[in-house]
């Protein structure tokens, strides 16, 4: 991945392939905790097309963004695992 870009996931720098979605960047790095459900279950992408809202994360301080609908950008900050 010589053309990899960097995003910051939960304050940790992650080198990811450009052009992919945030969901892809996380899953390809074995990151499966996207959000916590109201009773504390770990949730991750299901529908892949913006319907189910299970993949929502905080992107650049904007909460409830669907990771499957947003393309990674260099320097993007992603925070996961919050109750939502």
């Amino acid at each position: 991945m010589s053309d990899a870009i960097e995003i910051v996931v939960n304050a940790k720098v992650l080198r990811v392939e450009p052009g992919v979605t945030v969901a892809s960047a996380l899953l390809n790095n074995d990151h499966h905790v996207f959000r916590r459900s109201t009773t504390g279950e770990v949730r991750a992408p299901v529908c892949g097309m913006g319907i189910c809202y299970e993949c929502r994360v905080t992107i650049n301080d904007v909460a409830h963004q669907r990771a499957c609908m947003v393309t990674v950008e260099h320097g993007m900050r992603v925070d996961t695992g919050s109750a939502a």
Binding site: E17, G19, V20, T21, A23, S24, A25, L27, N28, H32, V33, F34, S37, T38, T39, E41, V42, R43, A44, P45, V46, C47, G48, M49, G50, I51, C52, Y53, E54, R56, V62, H64, C68, M69, T71, A84
Partner: protein, 430 residues
């Protein structure tokens, strides 16, 4: 009235592309609003760093040759009436905007039907089309052991797609009985191109076990799914896997149609010969009018686009629409859901994933509205898009009323439109 008609097409899949092209070619000013990063919808979604499929390119070229304005990565959160026109409120990356329309074409597509079963909320339990969408957007399934269990013509293409991407597809389980699938397969001789595609797909994962009359009984795991149990009603088998794809056909996206008070019958938006809904100047085409596939969506989209621009009907298009509708009906019969699928959830199985409402917490005598009030079922971020479609099957609950915003939106987007509505009427009250 020489003013150019303003047409807003909502959805950028095949139906939306056809509608926007037809309306723009007929002289209307067209704005297409699409949630995707580029037109194509789900079926024509290109993989990262590649181009849309060949079939799509001809249509995208046609769309690009028009003056239609395409708003990408933009979600519609509300449609308001202002005098004789519509105001479509949309949001992109948290920024709101409004588009005024004389006519609206709803081309909102379909989503997958998910049914609750023990373990379905585990990470790496995904949809069937969902897995393909994730893969096209960059998820690597290389080396992953995948089980596909669900229903419909999507199972085999997705199995082939994932296998070509290096996944180990262990099993494909179709819930419909062999007789139905065989009857459907036999009907394909009338469509040689589709038959050739089906044979080609099967050879891509020739060693994978394809079972009919087989469905998922449950999944287990810890941080992610680890194993899945399949059953044919008599015996079960358990497979260790990394990913489970489980979805049961498609459900029309009718939220915006219901918001506009269009008649929805049996889950599908009712339209006339010109694809107009029961609400004047609101047209609908493609999957929201009933699951029919890409060919039907294109024809309906063209008809809707011409009509929305004020151009009369074409007999040629109407005839093609009739053929594709017959094909869609045979597909629906072949992949009808078996009753066993409706009793997979145990008392502890979560039904509403947004609010963590368990099956045991729902009184089957309730109405959908009562369930909402008592348990918050369907009131989370997806607004019942997942559990609503499931409970329509499980309990026969019809879709509940739609409220704005139709998708989570920022308050300033909504405030923008409400302020505009309270401004003095610039065109004079009628």
């Amino acid at each position: 009235m020489s003013k150019t008609r303003q047409v807003v097409v909502i959805g950028g899949g095949p139906a939306g592309i056809a509608a926007a092209s037809a309306a723009a070619e007929s002289g209307a000013r067209v704005t297409m609003i699409d949630e995707g990063p580029a037109p194509g919808g789900q079926i024509w979604r290109p993989a990262v760093h590649s181009h849309p499929p060949l079939a799509a390119q001809r249509w995208i070229v046609r769309l690009n040759a028009t003056q239609a304005d395409v708003l990408r990565s933009t979600s519609v959160v509300d449609i308001e009436r202002r005098n004789d026109r519509f105001v479509v409120v949309a949001e992109s990356s948290g920024n709101g905007r409004e588009v005024v329309a004389d006519a609206i074409v709803l081309a909102t597509g379909a989503r997958e039907r998910f049914l609750p079963f023990p373990g379905w909320t585990l990470p790496n339990v995904v949809g069937v089309g969902g897995a393909q969408a994730l893969a096209k957007n960059g998820v690597s399934f290389r080396g992953k052991r995948i089980v596909i269990a669900g229903s419909g013509p999507l199972l085999l293409p997705v199995a082939a797609y994932l296998a070509r991407g290096g996944a180990k597809v262990l099993a494909v389980a179709e819930q419909a009985p062999l007789a139905n699938v065989a009857r459907f397969a036999a009907s394909l001789w009338r469509r040689p191109r589709t038959l050739a595609q089906a044979i080609g797909l099967r050879s891509a994962f020739a060693r994978t076990r394809f079972s009919t009359g087989t469905w998922v009984a449950g999944a287990r795991g810890d941080s992610t799914v680890k194993e899945v149990t399949l059953t044919d009603g008599r015996s079960t088998r358990t497979l260790a896997c990394d990913v489970l794809c489980a979805a049961f056909g498609l459900v029309p996206n009718t939220e915006l149609a219901r918001l506009l008070a269009c008649d929805v019958v049996g889950g599908a938006v009712r339209t006339d010969d010109a694809q107009m809904t029961t609400i004047a100047a609101v047209y609908c085409c493609g999957e929201p009018t009933g699951i029919g596939g890409v060919d039907l969506a294109l024809v309906e989209g063209e008809i809707a686009g011409f009509a929305a621009a004020g151009v009369g009907p074409s007999e040629h298009l109407a005839a093609r629409r009739a053929v594709h509708r017959r094909e869609a009906a045979s597909l629906e019969r072949a992949f009808a859901l078996r009753p066993e699928l409706l009793s997979l959830a145990g008392a502890e199985t979560i039904v509403c994933r947004c609010e963590d409402v368990r099956w045991g917490a729902i009184d089957q005598r309730w109405s959908a509205r009562q369930a909402k009030l008592y348990t918050r079922l369907g009131m989370g971020a997806c607004q019942g898009r997942v559990c609503g479609a499931a409970l329509e099957c499980l309990l026969g609950w019809p879709a509940d009323s739609v409220r704005v915003p139709t998708q989570p939106a920022r308050s300033r987007t909504l405030i923008g439109v409400s302020l505009a509505n309270h401004q003095p009427n610039e065109q004079g009250a009628s």
